[in-house]
């Protein structure tokens, strides 16, 4: 076993594990001896606040918000790319302009698709 070339790695792995876990264990031990918890229903409540939380945290959001986020992303990404393009516009060649046009058309296609699907109409 000791002749295995990976033996030293295994020893180091165990040492590293101990190095990480020992302080956690000691902290837990210290906590158990010197600061034992006194839990109660109010202390264990999910949200610490003077007022009781109302309702459930597992509420449902309308999926329409997700579509709005996606469409927002279209314009957001477009702006990120368009700005440097516009700044360097005078020094750019035809190829750069065409590729930018293709990019913008792709995004417009996405928008047109969403529009056709009726996403922009709030239901």
């Amino acid at each position: 076993m000791a002749s295995n070339p990976y033996f030293s790695l295994a020893v180091l792995f165990v040492a590293a594990l101990g190095f990480g876990l020992a302080p956690l264990g000691l902290a837990k031990l210290w906590g158990m001896v010197f600061s034992p918890p006194k839990p109660n229903a109010i202390k264990n409540s999910i949200y610490e606040c003077g007022l009781e939380s109302k309702g459930d945290a597992w509420m449902q959001f309308r999926s329409a918000y997700y579509l709005y986020a996606i469409i927002f992303l279209i314009f957001d990404v477009e702006a990120v790319f368009l700005l440097p393009f516009a700044v360097a516009f005078t020094g750019l060649g035809v190829a750069a302009c065409v590729s930018m046009l293709v990019f913008v058309l792709l995004l417009i296609e996405g928008l047109a698709w969403a529009w056709a699907k009726g996403v922009l109409t709030w239901a």
Binding site: P39, K43, E48, L51
Partner: protein, 205 residues
């Protein structure tokens, strides 16, 4: 460890201590108050933390916005009956060991508003108060005095036996009932465990 032997050893460059001393030193040197102001006393509390009075000297400048990280609740102002349940609830949410300073006349007795129908006549009716400071409002020096009194109190606590802090006493009550708004008053009107002897003053409360 005898005090004389400790001093003799100290002269030889040998410093001895006990777990209890270290533990209490740690507790009293890092009392983190809760960021929680109720009324005008809170302004004095804020002044105490600022550069002129510098509460950081006592290791207590770290005001925590969450009761789960706080050790000390400074009741800084008038506790209305509408606010009292929230105060008690926040106190319940603080982790042990926890302390309370009742700052100012209102917090300890209702103060100038004692006759008011909506004012709680002292927060010590619901939660155990460690230090009371009189004053309306108390000056920052008074709050610092309260801190030093609290530190002395912590320093004097034994880890075992009688008078040990509540969190080391498995039997001790850790939850303090939150009063609810009744028809005419908070119900119950006080927690008998922390306020066993109501003073008969003749003033209706």
């Amino acid at each position: 460890m005898e005090e004389g032997l400790k001093i003799e050893l100290g002269k030889q460059g040998v410093f001895v201590t006990t777990i209890e001393e270290l533990y209490n030193w740690g507790r009293r040197s890092s009392i983190w108050p809760m960021q929680f102001g109720l009324a005008c006393c809170a302004i004095e509390m804020i002044a105490t933390t600022m550069a002129r009075y510098d509460l950081a000297r006592f290791g207590a400048e770290v005001f925590r916005p969450s009761p789960r990280q706080a050790d000390l609740m400074i009741i800084s102002g008038t506790v209305t009956k509408k606010m009292a349940p929230q105060v008690v609830r926040l106190y319940n949410q603080m982790a042990e060991p926890k302390y309370v300073i009742a700052m100012g006349a209102c917090a300890i007795s209702g103060g100038p508003f004692k006759q008011g129908y909506n004012v709680l006549k002292g927060i010590d009716r619901y939660i155990p108060v460690d230090v009371h400071i009189p004053g309306c409002p108390p000056r920052p020096e008074a709050l610092i005095q309260a801190f030093m009194t609290l530190q002395k109190k912590i320093d004097g606590q034994n880890l075992t036996g009688e008078g040990r802090p509540r969190h080391l006493d498995a039997e001790a009550q850790g939850e303090f009932p939150v009063p609810v708004q009744g028809e005419h008053d908070l119900e119950p009107s006080s927690n008998r465990l922390v306020w066993p002897l109501p003073m008969k003053t003749g003033i209706r409360d």
